[in-house]
């Protein structure tokens, strides 16, 4: 069986329509994606890098694809109102894969460019041509599928020297009256010595339908730039997502990527970072709180292609019920890259007999003068700590909750945005208490009107 076939057939039937609705630069890449998919197969469970995850079965479901780009929602701004405590952001929405800006977006006007590909292709053709589809590896069939079907995306460009004071917030909303697959695509270019913080959160408005988000994000961090990308998933048990983030780091750049999964169905996150300049710094953080039948698989690859750069990874999982967690991380230090420091950590709490954790931390080092380490542990809450708290009159559930919160606290503390940090602590507390409902709030506390 080949789950990709239905989508390839769909593309072949509607190729003319898709291409007529897309900018040329997308169509150029599309041709090579089509070629790639001719022989590609989605990885099955047990294949290399997919020990616990079966993509074939995720894509096998008969999802609808909005080839005609019919608008489903009049204005997502109407259904989601964001009230951001202590934090003012420039807010954008994407409804499925169509982008809308809000009134707050104007705050960044003149500094940061945020616009759909359809506009960017006219406004910044040289940037679009130079970077679109260049980082993402077409050898990954999910990237090829995204490139094949994508018709629009969001282009974020911070010109050289611009420091965006306000974070950009991107609220992704799923809303459809049928099972649906969307191809989200982001291209983020941060110029020399520029700085930007981006928050993205995923929500599903109609929990009765199955959604599949197959997204590809490309981030280019030029010399001396600062990029923070926070990604929070708070969807529904029927929502699946395959997310591939590709980063190209130049000299002295500083990139932080933080992936947080609170509620989801199936998630596979791929992070692929190429560190191409000296003194570049990479921070990859991840936190997963999973229960029920949630499945979260994170796969990271950091390639140090230049000397004197450093990276730091920490992924934490708290698994309960039948949840399945997987983490695979690889650090590569290429030859002639001395003085690289790379650390990778993966800590996991298994809270139920049926919860499963798979972990595969890897190092591949070809230079001698480096400091690299990885650590991985799977365990439970410390019985003695629990006992200690109970002797002081704290109930077992409360004690467990406190310890679990403390366990994930250092990942949250890695967030470089105070207001968001506070908000996350609050959301995690609610998540552990079981009172976090689907639209109780995105990371910036969205409230349904």
């Amino acid at each position: 069986m080949n789950a990709l076939k239905q989508y390839i057939d769909l593309f072949d039937e509607t190729r003319a329509l898709i291409e007529s609705q897309s900018p040329d630069v997308l169509n150029t890449v599309r041709a090579s994606a089509r070629e790639q998919l001719e022989t590609a197969r989605l990885p099955r469970k047990g294949s290399e890098d997919y020990e616990a995850t079966d993509l074939e079965s995720v894509f096998a479901h008969d999802y609808g694809v909005n080839v005609n780009r019919l608008p489903f929602d009049a204005d997502p701004g109407e259904t989601f109102h964001c009230d951001v405590p202590n934090m003012s952001t420039c807010l954008y929405y994407s409804s499925n894969d169509a982008f809308h800006s809000s009134a707050t977006a104007e705050r960044n006007i003149g500094k940061v460019v945020v616009e759909p590909f359809s506009m960017a292709a006219f406004d910044y053709p040289e940037l679009m041509n130079a970077y679109y589809g260049k980082l993402a590896k077409m050898s990954d069939p999910t990237v090829a599928l995204n490139s094949l079907l994508v018709q629009d995306g969001l282009f974020i460009y911070v010109p050289d020297g611009v420091v965006a004071e306000r974070p950009i917030q991107l609220v992704n909303i799923f809303n459809a009256a049928l099972d649906m697959m969307v191809q989200r695509r982001l291209l983020i270019i941060v110029g020399k010595n520029a700085s930007i913080r981006i928050l993205a959160c995923d929500h599903t408005q109609s929990p009765d339908y199955r959604y599949l988000n197959n997204q590809v994000i490309e981030i280019v961090a030029m010399q001396g730039s600062h990029v923070d990308y926070y990604d929070m998933e708070e969807s529904t048990p029927k929502t699946s997502r395959v997310s591939s983030v590709y980063v190209d780091q130049h000299e002295g750049s500083n990139v932080l990527i933080d992936g947080i999964t609170l509620i989801n169905g199936f998630t596979r996150n791929n992070y692929h970072v190429e560190v191409n300049g000296e003194h570049a710094e990479t921070h990859l953080l991840g936190m997963t709180i999973a229960s029920g039948e949630q499945h979260v698989d994170s796969h990271t690859f950091i390639s140090h292609n230049a000397p004197r750069c450093n990276s730091n990874e920490m992924f934490k999982y708290v698994l309960n019920d039948n949840a399945v967690g997987a983490f695979a991380g690889k650090i590569l230090v290429k030859p002639n890259c001395p003085r690289v420091e790379a650390y990778q950590g993966n800590r996991n709490l298994c809270g139920a007999p049926t919860a499963k954790m798979y972990t595969k931390p890897q190092l591949e080092i070809y230079t001698d003068d480096v400091m690299c380490s990885h650590g991985s542990a799977v365990g439970q809450l410390d019985e003695e700590a629990l006992f200690y708290m109970r002797t002081r009159g704290i109930g077992i559930d409360e004690a467990r909750r406190l310890l679990m919160q403390a366990f994930v606290a250092d990942v949250i503390d890695g967030v470089r945005l105070d207001a968001l940090k506070d908000r996350l602590h609050y959301l995690v507390e609610k998540r552990f208490a079981g009172t976090l409902s689907n639209c109780a709030g995105c990371m910036a506390a969205c409230k349904k009107s």
Binding site: E51, P335, P353, I365, T367, D368, G375
Partner: protein, 487 residues
């Protein structure tokens, strides 16, 4: 200044190291019976016939051979095994005995010289060393010492071919039970053409009074060595088994694809130590042994214990994972490894700990040292089955890089299927701390000696697990292989 000096010194020292001779590289001029190159069913039948095997074993070999034909050579390792022409290897080579049919009672003087050169105590004068030795040259076991004394206790220690004749029931009961011929490509090949090896059976309640040791030697050219070792420790038994290996220096690569199977019953303990020193090839990476081995132990009984200790310094390519299947409740698996690679050697080694029994525990300590242009990988798996509650694993794998052209890699896999088990994994990669070298220099210890000291200290945790007789040899090996490998 310092940085400028370094490469020059490094080169000089590496040159010296490369010139450090592989001292086991001699060839014994002995009449050897070699069957023609090539592999087909007739060759399998011929090997079986030469050894006078019963039908069931021939059947086993043929089944393995037919299965092997359906397999492809694996390529997933972090090693570059060139395509091996399996028709260009001779699958059986035996030092010709002067009195055929009588069994190896009187050992050929040439052979004895060989083993004397290797320092193997085959003869009585070396009885003081207190080790029982089985010596395997090419495809056959040439001499086993101390058999009578061991027999008094009921311990069986003999070559595999003798075991097939003398204890067919035992062999039949256990052979292929831990590593079935369907396990992997090289296991299937070995099962089809395996020649000799050691068979050890320790009866219930017996604590083997001496170390058992097998010395493997490849001598004939253009042959492969496919030995098979089977160790069974019955209830409450204990045995410590050592394995050593060397081969002559030759320009062509030779294949060594062995299988080791170990079965540990209730409360029994097996300690398996290896000092692997096959010819590693010359300084340009020419020649050397391809060491592609399947080693696995089954801790079948409750409270059983299996401990692997290995010092890997030889072979052009080492690709092996001595593993423990911890089936019994409260069973214990241990893996201690030092893998040193120099010049163009490649090693991809590690272990698998499969926890099936409740409260089973395992410890993995792996130390990799890479010098020259070598590649050294740790690959391991710790798997806790859902029903194996209360399990515990601790893994530590450290890599030390002695040159900027070598590589060190770790690929561990951890799968935990329940909420009462604890698994920890730690790995570090770095070069020798310059502060430590500086400290030694300050006290008048030259850099090279300082490196030796630091590396020995680094590997000490594993070395201390080796039996005394081997620890000395291993330490010497490590210092020879390391000599001047400061980059």
């Amino acid at each position: 200044m310092k940085e400028n000096e370094k490469p020059e010194k490094g080169n000089q020292i590496i040159e010296e190291a490369a010139q450090a001779e592989y001292k086991y590289g001699f060839v014994t001029d002995i009449d050897t019976e070699v069957i023609p190159k090539g592999l087909d069913e007739d060759v399998v039948r011929r090997i079986s016939a030469l050894k006078g095997e019963p039908d069931w074993l021939l059947e086993f070999r043929l089944k393995a051979y037919r299965h092997w034909l359906t397999l492809k050579a694996p390529t997933w390792g972090h090693v570059h095994v060139p395509e091996i022409d399996f028709q260009d290897i001779s699958y059986y080579a035996a030092p010709r005995q002067k009195k055929p049919g009588e069994g190896p009672k009187e050992i050929d003087p040439e052979l004895k010289k060989t083993f004397d050169k290797l320092g193997i105590p085959l003869e009585e004068q070396l009885r003081l060393s207190g080790m029982a030795v089985d010596a395997v040259m090419d495809s056959v076991s040439v001499k086993t010492t101390y058999r009578e004394r061991l027999a008094e206790l009921g311990v069986i220690f003999c070559s595999m071919s003798e075991a097939v004749k003398d204890y067919p029931d035992l062999v039949r009961k256990y052979l292929g039970k831990v590593v079935p011929y369907t396990d992997n490509f090289y296991a299937a090949l070995n099962s089809a053409v395996f020649s000799d090896g050691s068979f050890v059976y320790i009866p219930k309640g017996v604590r083997c009074p001496m170390e058992l040791s097998t010395y493997f030697r490849i001598n004939a050219a253009q042959t492969g060595q496919f030995e098979r070792t089977l160790i069974v420790a019955d209830d409450d038994a204990y045995v410590s088994y050592l394995e050593g290996c060397t081969a002559p220096m030759r320009d062509e690569n030779q294949l060594h694809a062995a299988i080791v199977e170990i079965i540990v019953e209730d409360r029994a303990e097996v300690k398996y130590s290896t000092v692997q020193n096959w010819y590693p090839g010359d300084k340009d990476g020419k020649g050397g042994i391809y060491n592609l081995v399947t080693k696995r132990g089954l801790c079948r009984g409750d409270h059983s214990k299996l401990s692997w200790t290995q010092v890997e310094t030889g072979s052009a390519i080492t690709w092996k994972y001595p593993s423990c299947v911890l089936k019994g409740d409260h069973s214990v698996g241990e893996f201690y490894s030092v893998a040193l690679t120099n010049n163009w050697q490649e090693a991809d080694t590690g272990t698998k700990m499969i926890h099936l029994g409740k409260n089973s525990t395992s410890t993995i300590v792996s130390k990799g040292i890479s010098a020259g242009h070598s590649q050294n990988s740790y690959r391991g798996m710790v798997k806790i089955a859902p029903k194996a509650t209360g399990c515990r694993n601790f893994t530590q794998c450290d890599s030390l890089l002695l040159s900027d052209t070598s590589g060190a890699h770790t690929f561990p896999v951890i799968e935990v299927g329940n909420d009462t088990s604890v698994v920890e994994h730690e790995a570090t990669t770095s070069k020798i701390n310059e502060d430590q070298i500086f400290y030694c220099n300050q006290r008048g210890i030259p850099t090279e000696d300082a490196v030796g000291l630091i590396v020995n200290g680094y590997a000490k945790e594993v070395m201390s697990k080796l039996p005394m007789e081997f620890a000395v040899e291993a330490q010497k090996l490590l210092s020879v292989s390391l000599e001047g490998a400061v980059g």
